[in-house]
């Protein structure tokens, strides 16, 4: 089961609050509360996280050309649902251990005649004593156009640009049939 350490730092909490539209917080307050979805930014410390450029590795974004290396994927995996359960407050100074495991997968037919491949992923954030702090559940969806070959055995395309269970980016499955 993939696992990594996520140090909770005041500066990242403050930047997260700003990004979410909040006003500046006191980064020296030891009781500075991390916002409810802050743990999502643990992706910064996930060695397997696909949506981060790395030196010497293919990247899908634009440079000289409008798209980068296609082997880095096409960014088409989308976020359908996200759920959190809170057990303990997240505070600067904590080091969370993050473990992720895949959950259910299912397929729905899309309005455009293709398929929508859904995949669930469960993530636990535990403190230094192993106590559960936050439990998260993500549902991602990968649109598969009608013309595209679908692997017979796998409910999620084997050639998906990122691990099928990876937590992902934004938006509505119904909106992305292209």
């Amino acid at each position: 089961m993939p696992s990594y350490q996520f140090p909770v730092e005041a500066a990242q909490v403050a930047l997260f609050v700003r990004a979410a539209g909040g006003t500046d917080v006191d980064i020296f307050d030891p009781e500075l509360a991390a916002p409810p979805t802050f743990v999502q930014s643990g992706a910064q410390f996930d060695p397997e996280w696909p949506f981060r450029p790395r030196p010497g590795r293919p990247w899908l974004g634009s440079g000289r050309e409008p798209t980068g290396d296609p082997t880095a994927g096409d960014g088409s995996i989308l976020h359908a649902e996200q759920h959190f359960e809170y057990f303990r407050p997240v505070r600067p100074g904590m080091v969370l251990t993050v473990t992720t495991e895949p959950g259910r997968t299912w397929v729905k037919r899309s309005r455009g005649g293709g398929e929508l491949h859904f995949a669930e992923q469960r993530t636990e954030y535990r403190d230094e004593e192993g106590r559960l702090v936050v439990a998260a559940q993500a549902v991602s969806v990968t649109p598969v156009p009608a013309a595209a070959p679908v692997p017979a055995a796998a409910p999620v395309p084997a050639a998906a640009p990122v691990p099928a269970a990876a937590p992902v980016s934004a938006a509505a499955p119904e909106e992305v049939q292209r």
Partner: protein
């Protein structure tokens, strides 16, 4: 807090590309569909669009203002439509139930909806929060 109580807040009048970039930078989700207009247009989108998790984070910012910072016990959403630069976003929440759990803690169950300027739901979900015993709750 009572059943039927409603909250409403404008999250943004005009979502900027820069705010989307801020969220990408702090969260680590640099998927270029959110941050790279050239890539997004080439991929067939009208422009970059916001991370669903940005809308969820902005919505949470309003929720903790109403409910207190450490009072949430559950928060979950479905992302129903993409959110675009220039969108106006308004969150509404309604108290569906207030109950007392085994330990005597009062818990409020709310539905949460965030809509764009056209009134379309972009996010729909729920939040459960402790009420009554914490200083975080607004009267």
């Amino acid at each position: 807090m009572n059943k039927g109580d409603r909250f409403e807040q404008v999250l943004t009048e005009d979502l900027t590309r820069t705010q989307i970039v801020q969220y990408a930078g702090v969260s680590g989700d640099y998927n270029p569909v959110h941050t790279d207009e050239v890539f997004a247009v080439h991929a067939g989108f009208p422009s970059v669009f916001a991370h669903g998790m940005l809308t969820m984070a902005m919505t949470a910012q309003a929720l903790t203002g109403w409910l207190g910072e450490d009072n949430l016990t559950r928060y979950g959403v479905r992302f129903k439509k993409q959110v675009w630069p220039g969108d106006r976003l308004v969150v509404t929440a309604e108290v569906e139930d207030v109950r007392t759990d085994e330990s005597g803690q009062r818990l409020a169950e709310l539905t949460v909806t965030t809509r764009n300027g056209a009134g379309e739901e972009v996010l729909a979900g729920y939040v459960t929060a402790r009420v009554g015993q914490r200083t975080g709750e607004r009267p």
